[in-house]
Symmetry: C2
Amino acid sequence: MNPVIETIMSHRSIRQFKDERISNEQISSIIKAAQMAPSSRFMQTYSIIGITNPLIKKELGKITGLTYVENNGHFLLFCADLHRLTIKASDKEKQNMQDMLESTQFYQIATIDASLAAQNAALAAESMGLGVVYIGAIAKGLPEIDKLLNIPSHVIPLFGMAIGFPDQQPEIKPRLPLEAVYFENQYNTNMDEQQELIEGYDQKMKAYYETRSENQRADTWSCKNIALFQKKADAHFSQYVKEKRMNLL
Amino acid sequence: MNPVIETIMSHRSIRQFKDERISNEQISSIIKAAQMAPSSRFMQTYSIIGITNPLIKKELGKITGLTYVENNGHFLLFCADLHRLTIKASDKEKQNMQDMLESTQFYQIATIDASLAAQNAALAAESMGLGVVYIGAIAKGLPEIDKLLNIPSHVIPLFGMAIGFPDQQPEIKPRLPLEAVYFENQYNTNMDEQQELIEGYDQKMKAYYETRSENQRADTWSCKNIALFQKKADAHFSQYVKEKRMNLL
């Protein structure tokens, strides 16, 4: 196993950090690593906002309800960003750009660009012995975050990333069996096979949830997902995206 | 620079591969690396389809118009996949899940999950001396690909990835200045500053496009992007996503 694959295979999310900021040199390496990710048509349609102001971190901690959003070595917010593409356009060109800026296709493209950059950032941080955790819970207060960070149209925050010196060493979570996520030549729609694979994985995760060092509970992977999806969709979410003039067409 | 950051910083897309398949062992390492990516609420909402059938590869080459989609060491298709979450649900539970399955929020989440997995796969491949290129051009024929690969509802192909033994060594493309993508505490809406940064980058990219070893042209980064966005949005794209029962709410 080479050092890259070793770093990848050692990933666990870290949610408890030492009270120590990461250095500006580390931040710079992490951002430069993010920038080296591939991007669709080389458009680089993402932005990253680093939060150093303790008041803003406190506010983000409140919005997400997560202590480690406030208490970490650094906090990054990853945004899908189509706005930058318009900066050098004339008024007339800008006008003509609206249709594609507002399309689902470019909302998806910018989301992918930002995600590829983020995973480079995460691995760069982990390769330096830092821990990271992605923060999807920013979705709980997108309009507030938007205002707080002065985010323009055609830009939306996708997720945060807390980074820092790990103050815990959780177990690595077992993943789905390879055959459940990887198919050859066509999607596997043999439901008996798929059910059997998921059933086996549910038993494995049940044992994991029951015996892990923290946050033990009685649950399976399927049960927790199915329970989560019994709720109604959050209409505010798609409304927010549309108000930012993305995903309209 | 540690070996992980070195691999990240050496990325260039490879579009010409030697006529040699990568080994099953390499494929397995790449997929396992993909699986170790973080995923939202540990839902692992992605699937990967590896294409080994030469007829299907030929077809995908035709759809995308790209020779390297057919000619490579292996081809992966990354999909956002919410379908798997329903496999163990009862009919009644499945019914209740539809709302969230059809939401923009979970379309975005699955897109991010698949992208994080893909970037792990890309770096794992590159760490073994292989080259990769992401293929966004599958968007040219989503309904055909859907049929060809038997893809169920709540699953959509996002992009392909051609992998193989590199038969070219292109230059590394200069990225945007760090200050153009990374902001502190709030989004930089100082347009004069941003315009100056992009102007400087346009000049840098102009020199790059004029002097690189292949595919030379007279262009700037901004001009090529603005030109691309003068077209109308592809309505078939968002229609396809909606037909797959995603991004509806």
